[in-house]
Amino acid sequence: MKLSEKLHRDWPAAFFLAPSLLGTALFFFVPFLLVIWYAMVDNPVIMNFVGLDNFISLFQNQAYLQAAGNTLLFSLISLPLVVGLSLGLAIVLNGKLKARSQLRSLFLSPLLVPVASIVLVWQVLFSYNGALNTTLADFGFIPVDWLKSDSARFVIIGLYLWKNLGYNMVLFLAALNTVPVELLDSARVDGATAWQRFRAITFKYLTPTLLFTLVISFINSFKIFRETYLLAGDYPFEVLYMLQHYMNNMFRSLDYQKLSAAAIVMALVMMAIIAVLFVVEGRSGRDLEES
């Protein structure tokens, strides 16, 4: 078939894309251009172009810096934890086990709990007057104000792990299924130890999923602030003050300049991470094909 004929036959398929393309353009892409514009003017009404001034003042803003720092620290601690633990869990669940699928369901169940119930349960457990302190006091320990001290950071990391382990575990379970069993078997016959087999074979097949899971976990770490926000309010104890709190507060005061600048910085960070992911994934993909 000639190209022109093929084009003539296929082009109506483009109509199928139209609703989605129009919708995303209208609700996301076009207004995002306006966000970029807002970030570079001094005032949404008068609109004097000020270049990068808003970004400079954002990076000098104490609240923003604290929020960004807390967020970064949270990610640095919780991302390796969640990826490592969910991978470990997936490996165990991939082995011989009783009631495997039921166990998997139990680990997925946190996805179903309404945010408010999570918050309520967490409050019952970790409030100063909460059940954990009552139990600790029964054993003679001194009660800790879990949500209003440095330990709040760990409470939130626990919450995040609890909510995301199951999801990541399912991702890893699927990836473990793609590892060719014959390869593992022949390596065993050749005398490779379990760790050697994992590092040389399993890990290679897991790399794309590993990277994807990192990105998903990073995105989901932004979602966990929903719980943090409901748990501790607009102005929580300082270690819990995250980028989301900052942006929510800017929403409330309708400070478009700071809001837009902060959204753009966040988008840029996201894109940088995605770009790194693609580069690394491309490289590991090549490794896989060559081996």
Binding site: L17, G23, L106, S109, A174, M270
Partner: protein, 318 residues
């Protein structure tokens, strides 16, 4: 001689059996440990459901002073006027007396909860249906076109899909203001419908269908709509079900959008309202949460395979 070999065989079998038992035992122990960990994961659901059957008196006796931050419970124990109210919360799972009091209150006495439950339904169902429909259509286009331009568009969709809430809410807000949609549920529904997650997932499925199906249909004179609706979409049934479960669960729990877009608390979904219930009446909060969990739990029990499938395929390269 004959008897001896019989004995040796018997011993060998015993040894094998023992080894088998040891292995089985190890698996059981491992399963038990994992189960213990898994129980930590279901604990909030179990606690919420069980506590929802407590009477108000029992709730007060267990959790009474939870939100009373004013006084230091560790220095000032029970209020002498109200000795039955616990100054600090206690773990308690099984109610002393099973009571339907909280449910009666929610279902028959106060209309607030039901109104908000339906608010949730009317917000979430259009999003689920709309997002799948728009996504399936777009997936067809991305299945037919795989040239450079299409790949660039698809890549932009993935980036959009990966953007955190905090980034996309700002453009959404600007558009809602343009069209005067603030305080209108459409401000939440429309961006939800055009979220690109469904495009991504269905495209991944559809692109894996062999091209022969399309070409044979085309030779038979089938148009685009027929190929899409009669051949490709039915083959992506799993993706559609998976999406229904994933998108439903995601939006059923929404909190940020209603707070930002809907100023009238009457129009809020139950997911937001529950938070306010928490502080007012813990007993009601447990029961309301339990009711709110039912649709998600039903979807989970009937569609867990699709949930798993959906998560899986969002992660595999395709």
């Amino acid at each position: 001689m004959v008897r001896e070999t019989g004995l040796i065989q018997h011993l060998k079998q015993l040894k094998l059996k023992r080894r088998h038992l040891v292995r089985e035992g190890a698996i059981l122990v491992k399963s038990g440990l994992i189960l213990a960990l898994a129980l930590v994961f279901v604990f909030p659901i179990v606690m919420t459901v069980l506590n929802s059957f407590m009477s108000s008196e029992e709730i007060v006796a267990n959790y009474g002073m939870l939100f009373d931050q004013a006084r230091n419970p560790w220095e000032m124990p029970a209020d002498p006027e109200l000795p039955w109210i616990a100054p600090t919360a206690h773990f308690k799972l099984i109610p002393d007396l099973v009571s339907a009091q909280q449910y009666i209150e929610i279902l028959f006495k106060s209309t607030d909860y039901l109104v908000k439950f339906w608010n949730s339904v009317f917000l979430v169902l259009p999003i689920v249906a709309g997002q799948i429909f728009v996504g399936a259509l777009a997936a067809y286009a991305f299945t037919r076109f795989r040239g450079r331009l299409a790949q660039i568009a698809f890549f932009a969709y993935i980036i959009l899909m990966l953007m955190p809430f905090q980034v996309t809410l700002v453009p959404n807000y600007i558009v809602a203001e343009w069209f005067g949609l603030i305080d209108n549920p459409l401000a939440i529904i429309l961006p939800g419908i055009f979220s690109t997650f469904s495009v991504f997932l269905i495209t991944k499925y559809m692109r894996r269908i062999p091209r022969d199906y399309i070409e044979v249909a085309q030779l038979d004179g089938a148009g685009h709509w027929a190929i899409f609706s009669k051949i490709l979409l039915p083959m992506c049934r799993t993706a559609v079900y998976s999406l229904a479960v994933l998108v439903f669960i995601d939006f059923w729990n929404m909190v940020e959008q209603p707070i930002i877009f809907l100023s009238d608390p009457l129009t809020h979904p139950l997911s937001v309202f529950l938070v306010k219930v928490n502080e007012g009446d813990i007993g009601l909060a447990f029961a309301a949460s339990t009711i709110y969990m039912i649709p998600a739990l039903l979807m989970f029990f009937h569609g867990e395979q699709y949930l798993v499938e959906g998560i899986t395929h969002s992660g595999l390269k395709g």
